[in-house]
């Protein structure tokens, strides 16, 4: 026991607190309203050691780089290595995005964070009738291995860590395979590649709901195929990044965000173990992607609670002794949903607070949103300003000097404990429902998210949650002070390339690729092992999707 406070001292403190409490209660300056965090935890006006009477500093917090990792996953944290400044980028054809990547790297970004357009994320070719209007929008268009070659042309893939925002497994199984195949073609050993794929089945089946997607079991299988593939052949690649960020953007609360990512990770671990993999061969590579939202202290507590919960689950539920399998490593993106289309320059301030909380919470990498995200894809100016905000935080504010600077704060520790309890309750509920895949199949997750999202919006509509520029401090006849990004013409470029490739490629090789993938589906083989070779035939992403959907069928999730 390393209990800091003895009972006599706490009693004495309690007596003295009464004097303050008395004055506080009698004050007429305060509004009569309830104070709580965004996830509904009541907030007191003052926290003292009496809020943490049983805190065991060693067991509950530990030291940085030591279980339960509340104070950080590395012994040195930002003294040793500051967070990666990974700014999301992607739009139009790969030729254009390649230029943006080079610009960001030239300006000091320390990793690539590539986002793909809607057709690519959903497994369609640019020329598919359902996809054409969205081609090049929201990210970069990828149809074949040739596009991947162009996207990373002149970028040293063996040195630069690349995060592939391949949200849906149906996209990841092809796009990650293309990234790996392209690296192989450039003579790079897959074991030397560093990076992350998103690859989260909830993104396909739950967060952005569309009829006719892969059923949850199949989407989940594809995501696990990538985890297994990397454990065997690409040791430094994070094959999954549980997308709590997007759950939150869809409408979750902070407690649900963490509970859902961890429940998802538990399911992946169970599946990998059932495939006969050794836990420590893949668990250190499971990574998390979290949201940096408005409630400053709750967000900090969220990151800290997530580390403790993960460590305890890995130690107690999965019995690993390897500290690398116990560390909850995460990337943070500042909340797009908290940004406003009104008075867009205000978003620079918002995103800076979000990022500050992420750093107070010990994030491994941080993306700061562009101020124009409520309106369009970030312009070059907005993307650079966001990168500069990240650099200002890292270089000017001196927050990197000490590790977990809010550790020991009565408020933060108390919030961390309360959030942990809420999160564990949700994880237990999902366990009772049969795990995250079952909870998705029954629509339980969909309902949880939709309810939380609706409640939040109602609170904004009622003015209980203030949004500057939206429900308070609004401006009449506001003139937009910024330029909007124009997506370059993409469809024609992609269509011409596809037509040329389809003419030039070897049709027998494409047929063989299709047959190989179909056989892999039937025999329940690891599909990434097959697709990484299949893409060399210049089979398109849409053609791969067709094979997968005809083998696994499609599913209509509950819509709202």
């Amino acid at each position: 026991m390393t209990n800091l406070f003895n009972k006599t001292a706490l009693d004495e403190l309690g007596e003295n607190k009464k004097t303050w409490q008395d004055k506080f209660d009698k004050s007429k300056k305060m509004e009569n309203k309830s104070y709580q965090t965004l996830s509904g935890i009541p907030v007191k006006p003052l926290y003292t050691p009496a809020d943490l009477p049983d805190m065991d500093v060693l067991q509950d917090l530990g030291f940085p780089g030591q279980a339960p990792f509340v104070r950080g996953v590395h012994p040195t944290m930002y003294r040793g290595r500051t967070w990666t400044m990974r700014q999301l980028a992607g739009y139009g054809p790969p030729e254009e995005t390649n230029k943006r990547y080079k610009l960001l790297l030239d300006e000091g970004a320390t990793g690539i964070n590539g986002i793909f357009d809607y057709p690519t994320l959903r497994g369609y070719d640019s020329t598919d009738p359902v996809a054409q209007a969205d081609c090049g929008r929201g990210g970069v268009a990828i149809d074949t291995l040739e596009d991947m070659r162009i996207l990373f042309d002149g970028i040293p893939v063996e040195k630069v860590s690349s995060s592939l925002v391949t949200c849906q497994p149906i996209c990841n199984i092809t796009v990650q395979s293309m990234y790996f195949a392209n690296a192989k073609n450039r003579g790079v050993d897959l074991n030397h590649l560093t990076g992350t794929s998103q690859n989260d089945f909830l993104m396909e089946t739950c967060m952005a709901t569309a009829p006719g997607v892969l059923p949850p079991f199949a989407s989940f299988k594809l995501s696990c195929d990538a985890i297994e593939f990397c454990a065997k052949y690409a040791a430094r690649w994070n094959p999954i990044s549980f997308a709590g960020y997007n759950y939150r953007e869809t409408g979750c609360r902070a407690d649900q965000e963490i509970a859902f990512v961890i429940a998802n990770a538990i399911a992946c671990i169970d599946e990998m173990l059932s495939r006969g993999l050794d836990l420590d061969s893949f668990a250190p590579r499971l990574s998390f992607f979290l949201n940096g939202h408005n409630d400053f202290f709750e967000e900090i507590a969220k990151y800290r609670a997530a580390r403790r919960i993960w460590c305890n689950i890995m130690q107690n539920r999965f019995k690993t002794k390897n500290p690398r399998s116990q560390t909850f490593r995460f990337h943070v993106q500042t909340a797009g949903v908290a940004l406003t289309a009104q008075q867009p320059l205000n978003n620079i301030a918002r995103a800076a607070y979000h990022a500050l909380a992420a750093v107070m919470g010990g994030a491994q990498s941080v993306h700061i949103d562009g101020y124009d995200e409520g309106l369009c894809i970030p312009t070059e100016l907005s993307a650079i300003t966001a990168l500069r905000s990240n650099q200002i935080l890292q270089l000017e504010t001196r927050v990197t000097q000490t590790i977990d600077p809010l550790g020991g704060s009565y408020f933060i520790e108390s919030l961390t404990n309360q959030l942990e309890e809420k999160i564990l309750n949700i994880i237990a509920e999902i366990d009772q429902l049969g795990g995250i895949v079952k909870a998705t199949e029954t629509g339980w997750i969909h309902n949880q998210v939709a309810d939380a999202s609706y409640e939040y919006q109602q609170a904004v509509d009622r003015g209980e949650i203030p949004v500057v520029g939206v429900n308070c401090h609004t401006m009449e006849d506001e003139v937009l002070p910024i330029e909007l990004f124009k997506v370059p013409e993409t469809l024609d470029i992609q269509a011409q390339k596809l037509a040329r490739i389809k003419k030039e490629r070897n049709k027998d090789e494409v047929q063989k690729a299709i047959a190989d993938i179909a056989r892999g589906c039937e025999k329940n083989e690891n599909l990434m092992e097959i697709i990484i070779d299949a893409v060399q035939s210049f089979i398109t992403e849409g053609e791969i999707t067709d094979v997968l959907k005809s083998n696994y069928g499609v599913w209509d999730p509950p819509l709202f």
Binding site: V130, A133, T209, A341, Q342
Partner: protein
């Protein structure tokens, strides 16, 4: 009085459906009958659904920047099919400079981020059945 029937549709593949779902629920809670399509809808499918379901209005949610293409297709398909008494409104990240163009296509109103749900309910209550 008959319940107002509203189709909320998400054309295209863009996954930002938080707004569409919130609006769908708010309209339902305000006593309207709401059909929500989910993502991945083509303009043709949206127009066919609107006709089959005999709705009073179609709300299109677009956050991908593809609003000009999508609204043009939906409104011209409606004209082609001779549908005239059907209100089309929209929401999403649609810059103000494009509003006049969309309204010239026959779009009744555009609701952008930051709109409270009550103003959409009020709008539909006023605009339908006049």
């Amino acid at each position: 009085m008959l319940k107002k029937r509203i189709l909320i549709a998400k054309p295209g593949l863009d996954g930002h459906d938080r707004g569409a779902k919130i609006v769908a629920r708010a309209l339902r809670n305000a006593g309207m009958e709401v059909i929500y399509t989910g993502l991945h809808q083509t303009p043709k499918h949206i127009v066919n659904t609107a006709i089959d379901e005999d709705v009073d209005a179609i709300g299109l949610s677009v956050l991908s920047g593809a609003h000009k293409t999508v609204f043009a297709k939906v409104t011209s398909l409606l004209k082609e099919k001779g549908v005239e008494d059907l209100l089309v409104f929209g929401g999403g990240t649609i810059p103000k400079k494009d509003w006049n163009l969309l309204k010239a296509m026959g779009v009744g109103e555009i609701f952008t981020p930051g709109t409270d749900t009550q103003s959409i309910i009020d709008y539909l209550n006023n605009a339908i059945g006049k």
